[in-house]
């Protein structure tokens, strides 16, 4: 064993001219060049059939009228080509602007709060003692691990109008304070899910609660990689906490933040599960965001799959543009440095 590993390592040794090229496996039918392609084939096939082809189909369907007769299993009717009709229908619909607004406002607020809270908790974890930080990490892990369906259900229960803990807590506030801040003092029976703005408020709370732990743990991992000497030097120069963060921590963690921002935008832009459950399905049209609207058009009766696909194309397009612009920005600034 020692013998062979010595020989193998000899491959890099100049004094052993007989071993210039790395050793190869005993020939087994396949030529060396074909091996990676054969290994790649099953995975590539899955990606092509289950991701790339549907992507093409989504765009194709968005230019067609696809209803019940077109998706029948036995001899389906051919889909009628309608040009940009579906897109015109979307743009002229009131639902487009309200669901676009809901999508964007939710994403901006949820991403901002998630990143701020997550970063603060990450900085906090870095300064806590070992026992305390493990304790807090295990705690935030439980929020992170809760499945999206359970997240929505738990927060729906916490914000329940009659027996919810939130209304009970708000009732604890002194009446003058509650009236001053919210304009009301009695919260008993306050419904949170009838109105779009309060519904989205609960959605933001639920999503931020579930996603800040990931940001916090990632920021912590990034902070641990920054050398302590830099902070030492900053302190010697009399730098305050905020300046240190702005001048040292943030620039060094920029690549991490870039990834976290893109990930958060992608996750929050297309939020579906939690919204679907909090809004109680597709009955409340004011509460639609783009993904819920797309789903509602395609899967309620009569199904309008083409229209739903067109909305999905718009959603995907916006998402790809945001991601692309952001990634390019990052690449640019990295090049300049």
């Amino acid at each position: 064993m020692t013998q062979t590993s010595l020989v193998a390592r000899g491959g890099a040794d100049n004094s052993a001219p007989s071993r210039r090229t790395p050793p190869r496996a005993r020939r087994s039918g396949l030529s060396d060049k074909a091996v990676p392609y054969v290994l790649l084939l099953p995975g590539l096939l899955v990606i092509a059939v289950l991701l790339l082809y549907p992507l093409y189909q989504m765009v194709d369907m968005s230019f067609h009228k696809v209803g019940l007769r077109q998706i029948k299993v036995t001899n389906p009717a051919p889909a009628e080509f309608v040009g940009t009709d579906n897109y015109q229908q979307i743009l002229s619909s009131d639902l487009f602007w309200s669901s676009l607004r809901n999508t964007v406002v939710f994403a901006v607020l949820a991403v901002a709060f998630t990143l701020i809270l997550g970063t603060l908790v990450g900085l906090l974890l870095n300064r806590l003692g070992k026992k305390m930080s493990t304790f807090v990490i295990i705690g935030i892990m439980s929020a992170w691990a809760t499945p999206p369906t359970a997240q929505a259900i738990v927060w729906k229960w916490l914000f329940d109008s009659d027996s919810g803990v939130v209304n009970w807590t708000l009732n604890l506030l002194p009446d003058w304070l509650s009236s001053l801040v919210f304009g009301r003092s009695d919260w008993s029976g306050q419904p949170w899910f009838n109105d779009t703005s309060t519904l989205y408020f609960v959605l933001i709370v639920a999503v931020v609660w579930a996603s800040f732990p990931f940001i916090a743990v990632s920021v912590l991992a990034g902070l641990k990689s920054i050398s302590a000497e830099l902070y030492e030097a900053a302190r010697m120069d009399g730098s305050g906490a905020f300046t240190t963060f702005r001048k040292i921590t943030f620039p060094l963690l920029k690549p991490v933040f870039a990834v976290l921002v893109v990930l958060s935008i992608i996750w929050d832009f297309k939020v579906f599960t939690q919204l679907y459950l909090l809004a109680g399905g597709t009955v409340n049209r004011d509460a639609f965001n783009l993904s819920l609207w797309s789903y509602a058009e395609a899967f309620s009766s009569p199904p309008k799959m083409g229209l739903g696909a067109a909305i999905a194309v718009v959603l995907t397009g916006i998402l790809l543009v945001i991601t692309f612009v952001y990634v390019r920005q990052i690449v640019k600034t990295e090049d300049v440095r």
């Binding site: 099953p42 892990m141 929020a143 803990v165 679907y276 899967f299 995907t316």
Partner: protein, 283 residues
């Protein structure tokens, strides 16, 4: 104030903040679990009851015996487990092969493939729902758990390959070369040398896929119509009635659904973070 006193005060403030974060994160989970063990008169009340007194097993036993939507919760747990385990096993084989190709070989379309992996992960899964639904329907896989398994393999594969390739690349190539010199075939080397060393990484990647599939909601909702074939996330919503919600039952079921995920999370927590950040991908 002396510097020492100030330092102590600062540490106390930090610890207090830590406790506050802990409570904010844990309280909803705590509330879910305790509600599952409260009798109904302690659930449907305007009073604040911090913990069930005395704890009741009514809801837990009810979700197992009576269940929801005509089936015991066992049925849904079983469906979820079957879908998740099958998708994970199939996905792990495909991912391991592809990851080996990417991490061990230099070939013409290697970079293109890596970029492809990144791009397909940017596409929201929710957007592909409509074309995949028509595809599943045409193939006669509607209402079949098999259809759901196939879809989940597709949804989790790009991330699995991305994460696994770093584990393969971390295994020193010299080990395989040594095995080749000993006259081992390519397959023997893969199976006897590379596989055991990549196994921990494969487990971590598989757990990630398991959690994604276990939690998956929108495809399970659309591709399955037969109530006996529902997975847990879909079955949960049937505790919500037109007029009132069975909060005790739904909390018991949610708790049951969360337990395996939480256990897995604590197991692979560290690997998951590094994998996600290194990969810049969805979860």
């Amino acid at each position: 104030m002396s510097p020492l006193a100030r330092k102590r005060l600062g540490a106390a403030a930090l610890n207090a903040a830590g406790v506050a974060v802990f409570l904010f994160a844990v309280f909803p989970v705590y509330w879910m679990v305790t509600t599952a063990f409260k009798p109904n008169d302690q659930i449907f009340t305007t009073a604040f009851i911090p913990f069930p007194s005395p704890p009741s097993l009514d809801h837990v036993s009810r979700v197992f015996t009576k269940g929801v939507a005509g089936h015991s919760i066992w049925q849904y747990l079983l469906n979820s487990t079957f879908v998740a385990v099958s998708a994970v096993v199939i996905g792990a084989v495909f991912a391991l092969l592809a990851a080996t190709a990417v991490a061990r070989f230099r070939f013409r379309f290697r970079t293109s493939f890596l970029i492809l992996l990144l791009i397909v992960q940017m596409v929201p899964a929710e957007a592909l729902l409509i074309p995949l639904f028509t595809m599943v329907k045409r193939l006669g896989l509607y209402d079949q758990l098999l259809g759901l398994i196939i879809i989940n393999v597709g949804l989790t594969l790009p991330f699995s390959v991305w994460m696994l390739r770093t584990f393969v690349a971390a295994v020193p190539k010299e080990l395989e070369e040594a095995s080749w010199i000993d006259g081992a075939s390519r397959f023997t080397t893969f199976w006897r040398v590379l596989f055991p060393l990549v196994a921990p990484g494969l487990v971590a990647t598989s757990i990630f896929s398991f959690i994604t599939t276990w939690n998956e909601f929108v495809y399970a909702l659309t591709l399955i119509g037969d109530q006996g074939k529902y997975t847990m996330p879909v079955a949960l919503q049937f505790f919500v009635g037109q007029r009132s919600t069975d909060w005790g039952g739904i909390m018991a079921a949610s708790t049951l659904m969360t337990i395996p995920v939480l256990a897995f999370f604590l197991l692979v927590q560290r690997r998951m973070v590094s994998g996600l950040v290194a990969g810049a991908v969805k979860g």
